[in-house]
Amino acid sequence: MNNPRQHQSLILRVTGYFLLPLLILFSLFMLLRGHNEPGGGFIGGLVAAAAIVLYMIFSDVKAARRLVAVDPRDLLGWGLAIAILSGLPGLFLGQPFMTSQWMELDVPMFGMLKVGTPLLFDIGVYLVVIGTVLTILLTLAEAED
């Protein structure tokens, strides 16, 4: 997508700017509600990655890289690390690796919330999916130049 900016449609670009934060927010929403409604780490990750890729198409690769701020490769590492980490608490309690642990939190305004290691795991999945898609597509787009 080596698109000189002057050829870019203004409408697309503005939409891109406005759409992006909404899509990222939506991806987080998908991630967090995943345990109870359709969604989850895979879907959330794909939404976020798609949003950034769309942004890349609307502007250019360098802008997209600046936007992500971290190297997508690091996201892979962090995602995997978080996913593995979420399996450890069970291990310390003498259960098999990856046994889920839950606790109830009393959050004002929300009431009782169940928080557990599976959520942490899903966040790891989310990061890995974003990292994978962005690593592949951003590198490919850059290679084109």
Binding site: N36, P38, F42, L46, V133, I136
Partner: protein, 115 residues
């Protein structure tokens, strides 16, 4: 409906294999994409089709509805779809690299290991 979908799976497999057997590497890529859809649908159909029974428990209820689609098959396919994307990307880039080295679209010119 199961029967019809099974036939569709067969058609997908046929087209996928046919494309994979071609000498043109671009066609090989297209075959791979068809194949991953075919395999996912194969699992999906084999697990049995359910209308109006998503594997969700309705808010407020404590038990699943009496008829619910097989969640295990769905979990399997969900990861397969995403991995399919990763593997496809890998294959496409690999083929592209091979094309750059061999400078040919013909699989038959890629049979030497020492290029």
């Amino acid at each position: 409906m199961n029967t019809l979908l099974a036939i569709a799976v067969g058609v997908l497999y046929t087209t996928a294999i046919y494309m994979i057997l071609r000498r043109s590497i671009v066609k090989l890529v297209i075959g791979l994409m068809l194949l991953s859809n075919a395999a996912n649908l194969l699992i999906f159909t084999s697990a049995g089709l359910t209308r109006h029974g998503p594997p969700l428990i309705v808010e407020g209820s404590t038990e699943a509805a009496a008829v619910v689609a097989d969640p295990l098959a769905q979990a399997l396919i969900l990861t397969a779809i995403v991995i399919g994307l990763g593997v496809l990307a890998f294959a496409v880039v690999l083929i592209h690299r091979a094309y750059e080295v061999v400078k040919a679209d013909d699989m038959d010119q890629m049979k030497d290991t020492d290029t």
